[in-house]
Amino acid sequence: MLVVSNIDLGTTTPSMKPSAFLKSSVKDLTLNLNNDYRYLKTGYYVSMHAEVLGNTVIPTSKSIIDVNRNPILLLEASKAGIPTNRYLVTSSVKKIMLEIGFPMIVFAVNPFSFDGYKVAKNRSALYRAVKSLGMNYKFAVCAQPLRGNMVSFKAIFGKCQQDEQLGEIAGRVYEVFRIPICKLHVQRVEEKAYLCGLQPLKKEEVLPADLHLISEEVARLSLKGDRLVG
């Protein structure tokens, strides 16, 4: 298994730098580790390059695009049985007010932003959110009702430091999309947790404890070899 990583994993885990991999034609199972899997960023190009070479890769370029588009993430997650909220994709504030109602959370549909979501409790807050997340109404936004508390946490290979309920949702998201490193936004409503969004991490958000977990998972996956996917 070939590990391509922009994160220094220490001496115990051999890995290739993304820039070196992009110039190579190594044919092997590829594990692409990156804090930022956004479209057009290096993390995306590594997966794309691996696929063109014919390699099986984690994560796939399709997953990278889809998880960063909030409505697609929700649609595919709900198809896979992960609890999600109803949502509306539009740039019309009126339509959002009519169909979602306050309070609500609003996600960008374009994946340019690191900022996650905005909470709108009234009309003016909603106008501000749609304007800023929609980049001056150029893009649509994805609105979801806010019925409980929002929790945001890091998920590393589907594992997290939170309680069992959130751990379960992180595990399911990893099973479906195979994004090794990300931040999840989840809404807790009474006793249930609903997936609301996913976003990349900033490099400084990856802490030594996370690196330890990543190295452990890489070692485990290396042993699994060809059963890496599925």
Binding site: P18, S19, L22, Y39, L40, K41, T42, Y45, M48, H49, V52, S61, K62, I65, D66, R69, P71, I72, L75, E76, K79, L88, V89, T90, S91, S92, K95, V109, N110, P111, F112, F139, A140
Partner: protein, 292 residues
């Protein structure tokens, strides 16, 4: 009878030639006994009501059109452009890697990486391709984000601008021609053929006027498919095969007697009196494909 949603944005109706083409799609579909509705961003939630989705708004994995395409595909609807085609055609780096892999003749291209962009690499590029060279952002469309540079200073200025959005760019040899071939392909068959003329004194079909935001476009000369070279048609068909089986516009340059690929575009322009001039049946063929 099928119901077709045509996903458009307001700008699709600003040019009268595109407006007429869109209305022709609607009339053709209705004459064939189908429903054809224009769907804007606000109507995305209505996708499940339809049997097929035809995207005419500009496509890119970053745009709402991709959300429409992927949503329709996940719901099992027929969709043009399909999300896989948008993913490959929307990223020219992906596309050139596939052309290389399948040995399809294309303009000599190398990739530059934001992390390893330095003086020595620039010298190597100019040594290999000569001057000028063309820098292409992966998300180029409608002749935008493709610039010709002849010195290190302008190379760095353009690359810096394009690197803001993408970590990898394509650099190509400059191949001057008076026109680009445009071959429209649908489901592995040639649909129409045009020549996109390069305006006088320019080097690409659409060029910005110096100091102004407006674009000038070269003429479009439409040809009968049967009067165009077989080699040209075959190259276009082979290029589309590595991408998918939908609707594409293949740009090809003719150098002497040989042909090289410039790029394959999903969501090709269809303007009344231009692409359809010698291929009036293209509307019906596309509707047929959508409802098949």
């Amino acid at each position: 009878m099928a119901s077709i949603a045509c996903f458009v944005e307001k700008y699709n109706f600003t040019d009268s030639r595109e407006d007429v083409a869109l209305q022709t799609f609607k009339h053709t579909a209705e004459e064939m006994g189908h429903e054809f509705d224009f769907m804007f961003r606000e109507g995305i939630s209505e996708i499940p009501k339809y049997d097929a989705v035809f995207i005419r708004a500009t496509t890119d994995p970053l745009y709402t059109s991709y959300v429409v395409s992927r949503t329709a595909s996940e719901l099992g609807l027929k969709v043009v452009d399909d999300p896989e085609s948008i993913q490959i055609c929307g990223n020219k780096i992906h596309q050139y890697l596939l052309f290389k892999k399948f040995n399809l003749p294309h303009i000599p291209t190398i990739f530059i990486n934001k992390e390893e962009f330095h003086h020595k690499q620039l010298l190597e590029i100019f040594r290999e391709f000569g001057k000028p060279v063309v820098i292409k952002a992966p998300y180029t469309s409608f002749s935008r984000y493709v610039e010709k540079v002849a010195c290190e200073t302008s190379f760095r200025e353009v690359a810096k601008r394009f690197f803001r959005k993408s970590d990898v760019l394509a650099v190509q040899e400059f191949v001057p021609t008076t026109f680009d071939w445009r071959v429209g392909v649908l489901n592995d068959k040639v649909l129409y053929v045009c020549k996109y003329m390069i305006p006088k004194g320019r080097w690409k079909h659409g060029a910005k006027l110096r100091g102004k935001p407006t674009f000038i476009w070269g003429r479009t000369v439409s040809l009968k498919v049967e009067n165009t070279p077989t080699e040209l048609q075959n190259l276009a068909l082979n290029a589309c095969k590595v991408i998918g089986h939908g609707l594409y516009g293949v740009d090809i340059k003719q150098v002497g007697d040989s042909y090289v690929l410039v790029e394959v575009n999903d969501n090709p322009s269809i303007y009344s009196g231009y692409e359809d001039l010698r291929s009036k049946d293209l509307y019906g063929k596309i509707i047929d494909f959508l409802v098949d």
